[in-house]
Structures are given as structure tokens and as C-alpha cells.
Symmetry: C2
Subunit: 625 residues, 2 copies
Amino acid sequence: MTAILDTIESPRDLKGLTQRELAQLAGELREKIIAVCSKNGGHLAPSLGVVELTLALHRVFDSPTDKIIWDVGHQAYAHKLLTGRRDQFATLRTLGGISGFPKRCESPHDAFDTGHTSTSISAALGFAVARDLQGERNKVVAVIGDGSMTGGLAYEGLNHAGHLNKDLVVVLNDNEMSIAENVGALSNFLNRTVTSEFVHTMKKDLEGFLGGLDRIGRGVLKVAKRAEESLKGLFTPGMLFEAFGFEYIGPIDGHDIGRLMETFEKVKRFDDAVLIHVLTKKGKGYRPAEEKPALFHGVGPFEVETGKVIKGKGGAASYTGVFGEAIRKIAVEDERVIALTAAMPDGTGLTPFATDYPTRFFDVGIAEQHGVTFAAGLAAEGYRPVFAVYSSFLQRAYDQVFHDVCLQNLPVTFAIDRAGVVGSDGPTHHGLFDLAYLRHLPNMVVMAPKDENELQHLLLTAIEHDGPAAVRYPRGNGYGVSLDQTCSVLPIGKGEILREGLDGALLAIGSTVYPAREAAEALAAEGIDLAVVNARFVKPLDRDLILSLARTTGRLITVEENVIQGGFGTAVLELLEEEGIEGVTVLRLGYPDRYVEQGEQHELRAQYGLDAPGITARVRTFMKR
Amino acid sequence: MTAILDTIESPRDLKGLTQRELAQLAGELREKIIAVCSKNGGHLAPSLGVVELTLALHRVFDSPTDKIIWDVGHQAYAHKLLTGRRDQFATLRTLGGISGFPKRCESPHDAFDTGHTSTSISAALGFAVARDLQGERNKVVAVIGDGSMTGGLAYEGLNHAGHLNKDLVVVLNDNEMSIAENVGALSNFLNRTVTSEFVHTMKKDLEGFLGGLDRIGRGVLKVAKRAEESLKGLFTPGMLFEAFGFEYIGPIDGHDIGRLMETFEKVKRFDDAVLIHVLTKKGKGYRPAEEKPALFHGVGPFEVETGKVIKGKGGAASYTGVFGEAIRKIAVEDERVIALTAAMPDGTGLTPFATDYPTRFFDVGIAEQHGVTFAAGLAAEGYRPVFAVYSSFLQRAYDQVFHDVCLQNLPVTFAIDRAGVVGSDGPTHHGLFDLAYLRHLPNMVVMAPKDENELQHLLLTAIEHDGPAAVRYPRGNGYGVSLDQTCSVLPIGKGEILREGLDGALLAIGSTVYPAREAAEALAAEGIDLAVVNARFVKPLDRDLILSLARTTGRLITVEENVIQGGFGTAVLELLEEEGIEGVTVLRLGYPDRYVEQGEQHELRAQYGLDAPGITARVRTFMKR
Ligand SMILES: [Mg+2]
Ligand SMILES: [Mg+2]
């Protein structure tokens, strides 16, 4: 059934295919993508939406000489299948397998690594400038979704690219949604389309009108000329992009290979900055994904025939779900609570809150910077905004956290989901840096719950705290512990002793607390008697508790799901130095100083020695030292 | 001569003034601003440009009930003078004095702290949403410059604000420049103004034309209606903002108080999002500043009569200047070198490079995120981009450094100016976090030169390094050391012993190396014999050297101009833990866990014990421990 795909070793092999064969190949690509995603999970709907677009790009342009840069990159599955990775495609998103995103180290056809949104125009401009400096003539193409276009970085890139007017192609892949519904002016622009008949009629009439203006003289004629130029784009969504200095073409049907090829052929001869507006359907060609594009945006394993998502081991509620319920509960009592998301109402668990409190819920679009500063404004007026955001995406607003929230000591809560390793999305999406990049900011309180029940209490603690506070928690299910009906404020900077012990103390934070306790039990059976602390707070630390354990046991082991530089364990080292405590031996466990690859969370935790057996083994060695 | 100003205790006192009195007050404000800036230095030109605007805002709106949010905030001097801070104004920007930026802690009239660009629309939207939730009726006004409008955050804010269409006033203060010339599409928009006569004529003609279209039927009529609506803005710079969902008014003369008051009075009755486009002249009313607005953007002390800038103690070249010469020198030999700035060609020392290598120089506008990702694209194609940027502004691109540069291990050099305390600009501008926020990123090399000569060598070392590298250096003059004619590559991760000693080792980085050596000499006279190391590298550390000194002396003192959490000293603690070194006593000197106030660099270093006497005193105490 993949008769043609099996013959494609590189994009060159597309050149000889007829349109009919390309259409068949589109079907084969979809089949393959659906089959692999149904097993491995993945970004199915975005990738299905761009199959024809990918074929047309690779048919017309000459990758890797021509550069194709996929914004976000989760739509690049067909690209991967056509560029020599067909046989590895079954390993998509698995440990040691090929990435779900473009990776320069995987293929010369992956011009630029992506994963976060809105980077492609800026990067493509870099490629275009480099080409011109080198006197080369290759084309550079950025493919960016309508959602990604709402990020400020895309605007900055458009602005500079239009200004330089380099030979650069931006393909705007408009599927009228990013992950959730789009926000803001840009989507208004894109929805302004009128049928081309009307445009045609209007233009003809207008030409006559403008002709008649001649008599009014040169000044008005110049104005009129501009009117004509502007009107050309005015009735299409091109207005904005032409204003930015781009030639605008479109909108065109993104599932019509012939039309796409024709357009790309034409554009290949241009040497200006041009934006091609392509309309696609997310999930195209697989009915369940077409019907539920948000569900199939990034999906776990599912049954191909029915589209039924296969439930994991199930049972325990997810941290995300518990957060969503907790904030709803807290909002009943506290009218100051406002919830914010950057285009992730489902992913962050805020959809139920949005339903209950539509006036207290804001989806700011893919715009983390704005989300944080907007929250600061709300907080300055007495509200208690909670920005629910993935750890790796909050990185995009580091300066706004610094400048708009912490500097003014404003009570904004950061509910940081996907902290720690996230699994198959890999290094762009792991949340392994937040403890380090938040801890050094003055006024910030940084905490992490040991389980999903504690998450509720820490969320309330953060909201009630009269300053900035972050609660970080992992992707995936909790432990199935029972959930207290009422949230309580826990004392800031106070940890919890889970186990007494005399030989040393395991200081664990967040998702590592349960495995650390398990490790301690295993070691107890070997005669090593360790205290176990649920630290709860990375900042401020529970100084008294940690110092007392340092003094009584002489050995501290810190455990965290964060990069080892500058995180929780480092904070403990700093505390000992500040207090001038001597003679304490410390071992810090965390992720090393490199980007962590993709893999299931449990696989990565095992590989990096952060599950119970790993902690046990490393602590055993340490205790022999 | 400040007869009226002396009677103004709060904006309420403006309400009774005639237009003639307001005009006189404008003169008095200018006089006061010029007088104080001539002594203390400051953002003279931006503040002079908005005197009438400030008067009109405070005359029409009722601060602090109505909220005025100043983007960046360096133009708020007249605002400060009118809101109860006339008598403290002489302390502007000095240690313990009033800030050069709005500060909530200073006055209820300062609605929101600013300092970095492009935050005001997002913050104002937060205020507007809060007001509506509370059922209040106050107005919210954001005042933003054309330069700030090029930042992605401003776009994100506009996009969301237009979407929500809250009662919100954005005043676009268009002086056709930010600090340097503006970049990109937005400035094209703003320059599209045609005289209002033409617009009027054109509109009248068009109305007739559109009226005649009736016969074509309803469909075309709808299109025509849109044409009319769009044309309304088309010939003014309002097109863009109307498309974003804002009502557009302007452009109006920003020095015509009557016209401004009239406009604000009208807008006060609106309850939609409205943008008022105001044209001002930077430096207005002080000829030297009008003639050299870039020089007088942020200026040191000067002679009022001549506008001649008073040279400091002079002599030694500035780090900025040495950087500018060094990159020019390196670029002769290495064609791969490209220099980038985010709207700071003068401030970063790149103007000479731009003159010599116009095709290899890029001013990306106030768009640090784009600058970094653009650089990553250039690096992916074999170039060696050098992004010259202030430490506190690079914070705005933390995720792009993470995601686009470090993750792909691309050879981008970050030339980080204004690292450490910067002086009178205060906490928003101090560069006290870069060692912490860069050090935990995989693949990043982080270095700092001990003096201006070493800066040259480290710059070449960074450029030659086949991966990301940061060189950070302070604001201000170097030591006047002689400058080697040739730049050399220094070994990565190797420090330099400046003094041998047996009682302990002072490990210093960057600007603290000379004071640390001085401290060691002072202590030697007291019989305390300390080694002194110029660490050069914060990452990777010179492990062998540090470990050897730890073993031989047993005492390490780290000194850095960075926040104490997660910086250089912390890296040393981590190294000792990783190597399992016991029995070493460490003292880390740096800035504490809070925002550092404004003041001269030497004052702040003295206050925080980071000058030679401070280091001497603290090390003396430590050595007695
Ligand atoms: Mg989309
Ligand atoms: Mg300006």
C-alpha cells in the first residue's frame, strides 16, 4: 500500500512523479503517519494538514540546497518520511529513535532545529542573509502556522525581514487554529477573506473610478495610486503582510498539489520577500482528527479504526487535572483569582475553569511574554492571577517574570506544568531549567509538591502569598492519593520530614520525593538509616531543618528533576556556605549539564538514575565514601 | 522662574490653569529637567519631548484614579515633577534619590514600574480588565514610543487588547526614532502620512463613488462598505492599528497643548480601545538635544549653555570602545564575523564596525528575541555572529539563547555589555543575573575579562569557539592598561594565577579581579598570604587550578559582580561537591538576593563590599574564622 513511498529515498525522487502519483503518495504518507502515531503518539493533526504542502515544497524546491524551516516543527512528519527517514519512522519520538521535530543532527534536510513557536522567520532571515553574503542563490522557505504568527518573535522577524526585503519565502499555513482557537487581530485579518469574484468586480469598478480622477491633478493622483495599490491587498488577508514589506500571494488551497506547485514555481523566480497564504485543514484525511483537531493535535496512542484514544494504565488523576479542579475550588472562595493560559486551555487543565468563570479566564494566545506582563497589571490592581504554563514555555517570558513581576514583588502565581522530563517531545519541551532560572530572581518563592494532593495546597499557598510564587509539577498522572476536599495554606519555607534517620538525609523536591523515600526504605534494609525530607520549597529553603539534619547526620543527598547547575541541590550548597557549616558531605542528584533526549518519562528517569533504583544505587555508593 | 511649578503639588493643581499658564509651566518644567540632568545625567531628550503631552494627560485625566503607564519610563521626568516630587527632583538617579523611572513605591501616580521596553500595553490591559471586573470607571492610558512598538511584546499586547476591545487609551509617542533610527515595517507605516487635505478630498470623491455602487447589489455593497472603512485609515498611519481593533486618532502635534487636551477630552468619553498618534520632537526646547537627540537620549553631566558633555575623569578607554575596536580588528581577518545590535549601535560600540562593514552589520530594532534567533540562522550557515547587547536586555531573549543557540550548539557570540552594576539607571538595568541565567545552559561557555585588554582576547576566543560563548564586561572605563595590537585565542576553561599564596585563594572573575588583587596585597601586609586567580571562565571552570588551590590552601574566596545565587561562586561550590572535596572552607562574595538600587557604580560596589576595601574587610573576617 505504500508502493510509491517505498521508492522515495530523497526529495529528488519526487521530481519525476505525475500529479496523480503525488496524490497517491499523499495518501501513503497519511497512512504511514497515522499508523506510527497510533502506536507512538505524536502531533498527528498538524502533520496530516501539511502533507500536500510538504510534497509540493519538496517537489519544487531543492532541499537541502534550498532551506526549509518548519516553525515549531511538529508538522514535519511527511518531511521526515520524504527525506531518507522512512525506515526509521517507526521509532518516532521513542528513546533513541528519530525526533518528532526537525533536528540538524538527523538530516541535512532539517535546516534548523525547532520545537518552540514563532522562530522560523527570524532563523530563515539569518539563512537568507548568509546566502547573499556568500553569493549563493538558493531559496529559503519558512513554514509558519497562523497560531505561531501571534507570537511577538514572529512579528519581530517579519518586521526586520520586510525591512531588509531579502529573497525569502514565508508560507503561512493557516488552519484557522493553533492548538486552541486563535486570539486577536491577526485572526481577524485572516478571516477577512472575500471571494475572488467580488474582489475582481470591485477592482474593475475601482479602476474606472481612479481613471476618472486624472482631472483632479497630480497630487490626488498619487494618493489614488496608493489607494489602488493598497486595495489590491485590502480585500484579501494580505493587507498586513504587504504593509510589512512582503509580497502577498493567496489564499490558496493547501490540499491542491497542482495549485501549490504552480505557486511555488512562480515564487521561485521572485527575489523579494514573499508570503504565501495557504489554507489547510488540520487532521486532513483522517476523520477523527478532522473532527477533533484539538484532541489530535498532540495525541497518545489510539485505535486507528475508531480514533479512540487508548487509555494509559489509568486510575490516578493527572497533575494537570488536579490543578484544574483546585483552581476552580479556590476561585469559589476567592474572587481575586484570575486564570491565564497562552493558547493551552486544555493542556494546562483550565478548560473547566473557563467554563465556570468565563470573565475571569483569559487565553492570551501564543504570547507568554504578554501573559506575564498582563498578569502583573492585574496583580497591581489587587487580583491574584494564576498563569498556567509549561515549564519550557515560561522560559520565553524570563525577563517579564524578572522585570514586571519580581521587581515589583507582585502576587502572580506561576502554575508550572510539565516540569521535569516530559517524555517523547524531548529536549525542547523538557522542563529541566525552571528551578535554576527562577531561584535566582529576588522575591520569588519556588515550590514543588510531592504528590497531586499537595499540589492543591501549594497552589493555595502561592495564591495567598503576597508576592510572586511558582509551583512546578510534572507531566502525567499522580500517585492516586486521596485528595483533600479543602485546600490549606502551608507555611512558606517549611519542609516535611517523612522519615527519620541518623546516617544521612535525603532532601527531595517535587516528583523525586516518593522515589527518594522508596530508596531510603530499600537502603534501610541494608542497614543504611536515612532521613527523608519533602523539601516543598526550593526558595526559601527550610534552613533550620536542613541545617539541623546537616549537623546531626553529616551527610546530605539532594534529589531533583532539574538540571544540576543552579537548582535545588545547589541552593543547599549555598546555604551551607552561607552558614559556614563545615564537615558536611553533600551529593546532588539531578540531570547533567547537557540536553536530555526524548524517551518515556520512566525511561529517562531510569537512565539518569532518578527513579527509586537509581537513587538507591547512587546513594549506596555515596554512603560508602 | 519656576513660579507656577512651585505651586503644583499634585496634578489636581493643573486643573485651574489657563492654556497660557500651562505653556509657561511647560517652559518651567523644561528648565528644571535640563538643570537637573546637566548635573546628574539622565534621559534628557525623551523627557523634553513629552512635556506638553504630560501636561495634557495630567490636566485631562485624574491620576492616580486614572492610570498612566509610561513605557520604558525614562520619559517620565515631567510626570515626576507634577506628582509631588518637585523638591526631591534634584536627587534624580542618585544613591538614595528618586528613580529615573516610574516606581510604585515612590508615588501612587506611578501606576506600574517600567525600565525595559514594550511592556506598557500588556500592563495597561491588565489594569483595564481589573477595572472592569471591579465595576470601576477609571481610564487607563499607556504611553509608548514608536521604538518600543517594534518589540514583540508590544505586538502581543496590541493583539490581545484589540481582541478584548477594553476601554483603553494607547498614546503612541512618535518621534521617528527610538534611540537609534527605527527599523522595519512599523516605521514605514508611520511615515505614510499624507496631508489631511488630500485625505479629505479623496474621501469625498470616494463617498460619491461608493454611493453609486448601490445598483450592483448587496454583496458588492458589503465589500464596498469595508473599502470605505478601510480607506478611512488607509491614508493615515492608522491602518495598522485599526486592523488590530483599535480606534485610531491622529497624527496630532504633540507640542500643541490645546490640541492634545481637546483630543484627550474627546477620548475620555469613548469606551473602546483607542490609539492616539502623537508627533513629538525628541529633545524639544533645548537646542543641543534637538540637534543631537541620540547623544542626549541618555546623557551624562553637561554644560547647560553649550550642551557640551562634561568628560569624566577620562583617560582610560571604555570597555564598550575597546570591544568596538576589537571586533573591527577581528573582522578584517575573519570574514565570518557579523555584528548585531538591538537598536543600540552607539551604546554597544558597534558604530565604527557598521561604517566599515555595512553589509556585515545589522540593527534588528528593539527586538532581542529576533536578534538571537537571526544570529542562530547565520551561525547555522557558517557565520560567526556577534550579538552585542546589554546584560539586562539579553534577559529578554533567554529562551532564544536556550532553544535556538545552545540546543543546536551554534557558534553565536554574546558580547554582553553593562554586566554588573550599571549605576544610575538602577535595578531594571543592572546586569547582575547573566552569570546565573547563562551558566546553567548546556553548551554555553561563559567568560569575563579582568581588564579591557583581556576583553579583546576573550572576544576572539569566543568567536573562534565552535559553539555558543558569552563574554561579559562592565559599563564604564577600563584601567588604562596597554592594549595588545593582536588578539589571541586563550585556552577555554583556563584561569590565570596573579599571585601565589598559601593561606587561601581569592578566585575573582571579570571586574572584581583588580580589586581582589588589591585586597590580597592589603591583607599580605597584615600577614595573610592569599593566592589570587583571574578565573576568566565561569563555565567551564578551571577545575584543575581551583581544585589544586582548594587542596593546598583549604580556603577559597570567590568574588563576582553578579547575584550570589547560581553564579560563579556557586559554580565553585558545585565543583567541590562533584569532586567530593572535603574540608575546604568557602566564602562567596557577590550581590545579595534582592534588587540592587541605583547609585554610582563605585558607590554600589562600596556599599555591597565589592570594592577593594570591602573585599579586604570581608576576607579578613573570614580568615579569622
Ligand atoms: Mg494553526
Ligand atoms: Mg521614539
